[in-house]
């Protein structure tokens, strides 16, 4: 039987493309009548350009990337919407063994505690500055990425100005471990398996993780060309249902072995299944024999991981403003607000009777513990979702949040 819908999608070789990969390879897409073609890409720029010109209907994208596209921050303008999130968490900050030794000398412990690690890093940075040494160089995968914003948030909250006291460069994820080993960078923030890759190689140490900087924080999304979505609402709904089932399958511990083997294939990540296991189990080797299990390290499905919260988009927007990527204006705020589309998620999944949140936005950082929330028909648990510095982001108070961060920076 011929599939009802043909969909072309791009992805980057990162573990958090797993939901898209599983939708295709385990057959969830076919079951919804979708013939899903996946193309592996070599850069986020390619993904963005191919969406813009219609080669891809949708793609695995960095959470802030569609917002940046719609704000006109990218060379090719395109109207991109986000009806589905691919997961929460999953990133780490990995540093070279030399830098880790320096941080340890200033009190850092192999416990992933972001406040302690950040304090030690700050002390080391000032010691280096006093000695007249070059600033440390950190890499992230893209300027408009969760990685860039969480690294900066972490550093700033620890009293380090990421724009002045360190250098931040862009390195493609598969090159991170090599760049660190070669001494071209001192540390990086990237998704898995590119942190474990450095630990296994014996050249890096995981200093902290996204899931401790901001618990259950947003990461990759499905970015969809708006013009395509408007022309093919049924295809999009069918795909969202397929992704929902695929995400549930990815979350199930019983499927970890199969998923790790699938992602290890040369056409996806091309790295051994053993390297895929830390992200699935949350059990990380940190380097130097230390290990740690992180709760909610990566969530492809649980805790409403696939719901495109408008508060996530707005938080990314506040960080774009904070770091000078865009001016804060009512027009820009409206663009950011319109980018994530929980309405499309709801209308596609409502017929399945799955748990849907009662609101489209939430106060980020307000839940100190896992909390059942009111939702239509089924139970849904959210949180804990705190920022490590105890701050709260209220999406109704964007102006105040931006002003507070600007003030904090001026005082630093």
């Amino acid at each position: 039987m011929a599939a009802e819908h043909q969909i072309n999608a791009g992805f980057m070789p990162l573990f958090d493309s797993a939901v898209l990969v599983a939708a295709k390879e385990i057959g969830f897409a076919a079951r919804e009548g979708v013939d899903l073609t996946l193309s592996r890409e070599t850069s986020w720029a390619n993904i963005r350009d191919r969406i813009a010109i219609g080669h891809f209907d949708l793609a695995h994208m960095l959470g802030p990337m569609p917002i940046a596209c719609n704000l006109g921050l990218t060379p090719l303008a395109s109207d991109t919407i986000v009806p589905f999130s691919l997961g929460l968490g999953g990133n780490c900050v990995t540093v070279s063994n030399t830098l880790w030794a320096g941080m340890a000398a200033h009190g850092a412990l192999p416990d992933l505690n972001p406040a302690r690690a950040g304090k030690a890093l700050g002390a080391l940075i000032r010691e280096r500055a006093n000695a007249g040494r070059d600033p440390l160089r950190f890499a992230v995968v893209h300027p408009h990425s969760g990685h860039n914003y969480e690294l900066r948030y972490w550093l700033a909250a620890c009293g380090i100005d990421p724009s002045r006291e360190i250098e931040i460069v862009i390195v493609p994820p598969p090159f991170m471990a090599d760049a660190l080993a070669a001494g071209r960078i001192d540390g990086y923030c990237a998704g898995e398996p590119w942190n474990s890759a450095s630990v296994v190689a014996g050249t890096g140490h995981i200093a902290t993780v996204k899931a401790t900087i901001w618990k259950t924080s947003p990461e990759k999304v499905v970015g969809v060309r708006n013009a395509w979505a408007e022309r093919h609402p049924e295809a999009l709904s069918a795909l969202l249902r397929a992704l929902h089932h695929a995400a549930r399958w990815c979350q199930d511990p019983a499927n970890r072995g199969e998923l790790a083997a699938l992602m290890a294939q040369p056409s996806f990540l091309g790295l051994s299944p053993a390297l895929q296991m830390p992200i699935l189990s949350g059990h990380l080797q940190l380097g130097g024999g230390a290990e740690r299990t992180v709760e909610d390290f990566f969530l492809p499905f649980d805790k409403a991981a696939n719901f495109p919260w408008k508060s996530h988009a707005l938080w990314f927007y506040t960080q774009m403003v904070r770091w000078g990527h865009v001016a804060h204006t009512p027009e820009n705020l409206a663009i950011a607000l319109d980018c994530y589309r929980p309405d499309l998620y709801r209308s596609a999944l409502k017929p399945l009777g799955v748990a849907l949140p009662g609101a489209n936005s939430k106060v980020e950082g307000a839940l100190a513990s896992a909390t059942p929330v009111g939702s239509a028909g089924a139970s849904l648990v959210l949180g804990p979702d705190g920022f490590f510095d105890g701050q709260i982001f209220d999406p109704d108070e964007v102006d105040a949040y931006i002003a507070m961060q600007k003030l904090a920076r001026a005082e630093a």
């Binding site: 850069s43 720029a45 390619n46 350009d49 813009a52 219609g54 060379p75 893209h142 862009i170 493609p172």
Partner: protein, 199 residues
């Protein structure tokens, strides 16, 4: 008014392809062409060269890094944007299909850069065609070798003439709806198993 000729930087890890593009640009009258294969230290090179146009291979995973560098505008004093006009979808599509992307210094008029991108696209396509033909020629040669060996086996073991051996291979291939080279390979493999001295 005399138009200053444009300074073009080609970033391509593939040496052969890069030289094909460079030759094309020189033929088209662009004298100031620089080719860079390795993006290490690219910032300094760009500062030295001060290119008007940068042509880059889409398969280069460092595109994100390069774009960010352009946007930071530390080495290139003026901002750089993708050259193709935002409304010119067909042009962008052709560039992406071919595997080439171009960036220009903001403000440079599109009609001046278009011929460069068109040239790069056609050279990229020519290179892909050449690479494909080379691959085909190589596999054809391999096929011919294995068919010759299979013919030899048939001639010796069944006392056939060369023509008859070939005809038998062809007939078997047709009956099984497979390629002659596949039948020949099976025969060579089987012969090797039966008589290790044969292969």
């Amino acid at each position: 008014m005399i138009r200053k000729s444009l300074t073009v930087l080609v970033i391509d890890e593939n040496h052969i392809r890069a030289s094909i593009i460079e030759a094309g640009l020189r033929e088209a009258g662009h004298e100031q062409v620089t080719v860079v294969h390795d993006v290490a230290g690219i910032a300094r090179r760009i500062a030295e060269i001060e290119p008007d146009v940068i042509v880059i291979d889409l398969e280069n995973p460092n595109r994100d890094m390069l774009e960010n560098m352009f946007q930071l505008s530390r080495v290139v004093k003026r901002p750089i944007a993708m050259f193709v006009d935002r409304s010119d979808q067909a042009s962008i599509e052709a560039a992406v299909e071919a595997g080439v992307s171009a960036y220009v210094v903001d403000g440079l008029r599109q009609e001046r850069v278009k011929p460069i991108l068109d040239m790069a696209i056609s050279r990229f396509n020519a290179f892909s065609r050449m690479a494909r033909e080379l691959e085909e020629a190589r596999s054809e040669l391999e096929d011919r070798k294995v068919i010759d060996r299979a013919k030899g086996i048939l001639m010796r073991s069944r006392g056939l003439s060369e023509d008859a051996a070939y005809a038998l291979l062809r007939k078997t291939a047709m009956n099984q709806n497979r390629k002659i080279s596949e039948i020949a390979q099976s025969l060579v493999t089987a012969a090797g198993l039966l008589d290790p001295g044969e292969s």
